[in-house]
Amino acid sequence: MTINDIPPGVVLLVAAVLMAVLPARGRWFVALAAPVLALADAWVAINDAWAADAAGVARYVSTWQFLGMTLRPVTVHAPTAVFATIFCLMTGVGGLYALHHNRRFELSAALVYAGGALVCVFAGDLITLFVGWEIMTLGSTTILWCARTEGASRAGLRYFALHALGGVLLLAGIALHAGQLNAAGHADPLAFAHFAEMIEGWTSFGWHNAGLWLMLIGMLVNAGAPPFSAWIGDAYPEATESGTVFLSAFTTKTAVFTLMVGFAGVELLIYLGLWMAIYGIIYAILENDMRRILAYSIVNQVGFMLVGVGVGTKLAIDGAAAHAFAHIIYKALLMMSAGSVLHATGRRKCTQLGGLYRTMPVTMWCGIIGALAISSFPLTSGFTTKSMILSGITEQADVMARIGKPHDLMIAAWFILEAASAGVFLHAGIKFPWFVFFQKDSGLRPADPPWNMQTAMVIFAGLCLLLGMFPGPLYAILPYKAEAASYAGVVYNYEYLLSMFGLLLFSGLAFFVLLPMLKRKEMITLDTDWLYRRFFPTVWREVIVPILRGLDHAQKTVLEKLPGRPMGEPRSPLARLGTEWAVSVPVFVVTLMLVIYLVVYFVVLPTA
């Protein structure tokens, strides 16, 4: 057993246990040391794999045996390096941001959550992937519940239900897929690698690819793809100010990672990604809660990444991976900035905030840098990464045009994403800082948050700028790092700089022209999460409760505690199946069973 055999995720999981039991002083140490250790462990494995194979594609370092299957918990896929690095970094800085709170369970859950994400990133087989997936669900739900508010508790339940569903879909897909390969005599039915057959196969759905479809849907649930987009805006803003920072980083990006490994080049992802890019903007513009604005913009940004994965060329994949890296940093920075405001004022609605620039300069500047980065302003990280996705699309359009294939989709994608970029600047780049820090004077005079929160923000703000000016080190760890030398030219050329400035200027202008319309009133927007809020509760009330109610009739006391209609409604035919009858009834049932057996054997079966 060498250090190679320890999955980096396990380092964080062990740290999570320590975090839960150690006294406050030890927790500082664990929160900062664990990500460093995990990062070191990760890079030992990555270097090993790269040393053995320059392309570094799906090299596994260590294997375990489980259920007679070979598991590969330490595997280095092409995008593993970039995701593992940012996840460790995020865990460390997020931990720093959260440290002054005396919330041991939240930090512990955050480490579990990040550990699960790291397990997924190093998963070489589908079982390990599923294990990491479920660990993430448990960790993230616990983070939500750690907010200990009524809203968080309910949102947590909805969140958990949806992700449990996603997990079951994923497991069903894995079982089906592996079972079919196994039956076909495949050597390694559980391998988590590129499922190339879905590139062509996604247009059909049949028994042969049902497993892959189920896996794809399971992953898309976590990516927040339609029709599962609403959970992001529903759940994330309900966590504590530090909890949201963690939540914003891992779930969706791990899903992007798995899609990148498994389903790169599947055209469906382009459609879904475009939809998400638009969806995120529309709902973010309508929203009033500052952290919900940012949560919707996650959907929008993940949409960009999905388009990149769907295009599937080297440049597009690298762009999506780099964008995920940059996105985690600036989104966390924005969430930290919003969290600091929440921490200082206790208010979350844009309409109740404003004028904070006077007393919270650090928070304001960090928020602005984050906002510029998400708008891909030149010299920030968003600029250097989003441009790669867009160039990837145009490049692919060129290639397709040259070989005479229809490339309308690529062109449409390019236009929509350009428009979405303008929209991002509108809602996240200007709207968030403007309404929170400037606008009218709300009369609030809160101070900047404690030093650890400030430090965390400054670190990430610095990274946003550094990556914008010197993206080289990031390019060096991308999936197709061999091509990286050409990327700087892709990003910083006059043509693109000019178009970006034009875009930003005009949307900035649009914002201030349309300002009166954009001002939100104090209200709760009921958006697509009506599914959770209205539809499922209605189904529960109108369908499931009647069944349960029908199943029961001895325990009236219980029923009165269930929400819904009063007693006395007609019972369903299923009603009497599970009740505790008097002894005569079961005896009758026994006889009936005997009769059924005999009738089936003698009458129904003609052979008998």
């Binding site: 045996q65 079951v168 599970g578 505790e580 079961p586 049932v589 089936v600 054997y601």
Partner: protein, 508 residues
């Protein structure tokens, strides 16, 4: 030593029978517990020895002749990988729960009855172990009655805390007796046509009879079919398979805490074993599944059990009854594995017999701890216990995750095999139901966990602290075992594979 080794199969049944009688005579004060502990410990050692022998060392079967009478005439005990695994499960649960019961029974059973309690406790194990090991159909019935009669008594002993235990016991008595009678009638039919009571012998003679069915002059067709139907109904009752599960929730709920843990871990599992034995090695799957299509009927009952049991569990407010209904559902998984009629399915059934015994045993014991400290097991009694009884609640939660089938718990291993076996038979809907069952389990386990970890202690409730060590240690032991066998699945899959391949006649 040689002598003991030779008589090991008999000792497993005879030892607790003798010590049980001794306990009834001499077991005043604390002695009953010590005798039981010694007896169950010795039995556990013996079963593990036998298991190692048939699975790892070979030969695959060990035969013991009672009084040295040759087999079709005398009673023979036959140990093979299947019943060795089930016996080890029963003995393990028996030992751990005995360890636990010493303390937990104190407030539930008056001291002057303690020795009878321990005597009956051991008789119950005699019956369960005997059913598993015997190779004789009538001996099976006798031991079935021994275990059932002692079970009725044990359940009724819960009346000190709740009078409803008496009703539950009577209820079970009526149904259990009918079940045993059905079994007996079925065996009588088979005896009529084969003239034998030995399982292996019946199997051999049935093969000759089946051979005539393909010809123009089939013999005994209706008799055998009717006999099989009676046996299946009788065993379904013992197994608590939907819709014949109705005796089970109340029996588990109102029995003393330790008795619930013992029964949940052993009694229905032995019923499942009986069904596997009759279907696979007495009647033969060609008759039962291919000819009569009982797999469809069994699978239908299993799926209904999963759905109805889990849905019922969701709405319970008594945590013990919640677990009891969950057991109805879990039995469904075992039955589905039996019906699948392939290696993966039988493996799932055997592994789930073991895993579910561990998880449910741990959970019932954890509830026993709660009962011991708070005096009740309704959900409101669980509220806020996460902070007051952290270890007990952790054990409960680990067991609960096993029920859901979270990876890295033992429940996942059995579900994995079960889904594989269903897919192998292209049973898509059953595989789906298994997964739906997981979600339902999530809901009912979630209700308990929510009360434990997010609820507040009720106002004016007395202060509680962690359960006494003598109860806590066995509980944690089983919970840890359920985690261990989830991570290191090598042992269980090896044993279950040996059992499944032995039954299906596949070369190991």
């Amino acid at each position: 030593m040689e002598l003991i080794q030779l008589h090991l199969p008999a000792l497993i049944v005879v030892l607790p029978l003798v010590t049980g009688l001794l306990t009834a005579l001499l077991g005043r004060g604390g002695r009953g517990w010590w005798i039981s502990l010694g007896a169950t410990g010795a039995v556990l050692a013996a079963t593990l020895q036998l298991l190692a022998q048939v699975v790892y060392q070979g030969p695959q079967t060990v035969t013991y002749l009672m009084g040295n009478w040759p087999m079709p005439y005398g009673i023979g005990y036959v140990v093979d990988p299947l019943n060795a695994a089930v016996m080890a499960t029963v003995a393990l649960i028996g030992f751990v729960v005995t360890l636990y019961a010493g303390r937990s029974m104190a407030p539930e059973i008056s001291p002057d009855r303690a020795r009878y309690f321990w005597a009956v406790w051991q008789f119950c194990l005699v019956g369960l172990l005997g059913i598993t090991i015997t190779g004789d159909a009538f001996n099976f019935y006798v031991l079935l009655e021994i275990s059932s009669l002692s079970t009725y008594t044990l359940i009724a002993m819960g009346h000190g805390r709740d009078r409803r235990a008496l009703t539950a016991a009577i209820h079970y008595l009526v149904l259990g007796t009918i079940g045993a009678c059905c079994y007996l009638v079925g065996i009588a039919y088979l005896y009529m046509v084969t003239g034998s009571l030995n399982f292996a012998d019946i199997h051999a003679r049935l093969a000759d009879i089946y051979a005539t069915w393909a010809t123009d002059a089939p013999v005994y067709k209706k008799t055998i079919i009717a006999g099989f139907a009676f046996i299946m109904v009788g065993l379904s009752l013992k197994l608590a398979l939907f819709p014949l599960h109705v005796w089970q929730p109340n029996a588990y709920t109102y029995a003393p805490a330790a008795v619930s843990a013992l029964l949940a871990g052993t009694a229905t599992k032995v019923g499942a074993y009986g069904m596997i034995r009759i279907v696979y090695s007495v009647m033969g799957t060609d008759f039962a599944f291919t000819f009569l299509r009982s797999d469809i009927l069994l699978a239908a009952c299993a799926l209904m059990a999963i759905l109805v049991g889990s849905l019922q569990a969701i709405k319970q407010t008594n945590a013990k009854k919640l677990l009891a209904y969950s057991s109805v559902g879990q039995i469904g998984y075992i039955a589905l594995g039996i019906a699948a009629n392939n290696v993966a399915g039988l493996q799932a059934a055997v592994i789930h017999i073991f895993n579910h015994a561990l998880t449910k045993g741990a959970m019932f014991m954890a509830l026993g701890c709660v009962l011991y400290r708070t005096g009740g097991v309704r959900l409101e009694h669980l509220r806020g216990l996460g902070r007051k009884m952290p270890l007990t609640c952790a054990a409960f939660l680990v067991g609960g995750m096993g029920l859901i089938g979270v990876p890295l718990t033992s429940g996942f291993v059995s579900k994995w095999y079960l889904v594989q076996s269903a897919l192998e038979r292209q049973w898509l809907a059953p595989a789906g139901v298994v997964l739906v069952g997981s979600i339902l389990a999530l809901v009912y386990v979630g209700r308990c966990a929510e009360a434990m970890y997010f609820g507040q202690r009720p106002e004016n409730s007395p202060e509680v602290r962690e359960a006494p060590l003598s109860m806590l240690v066995p509980t944690l032991l089983l919970a840890a075992a359920s985690l261990y066998f989830g991570i290191d699945s090598g042992t269980t899959s090896r044993v279950s594979e040996a059992a499944a391949k032995f039954l299906l006649g596949v070369a190991p």
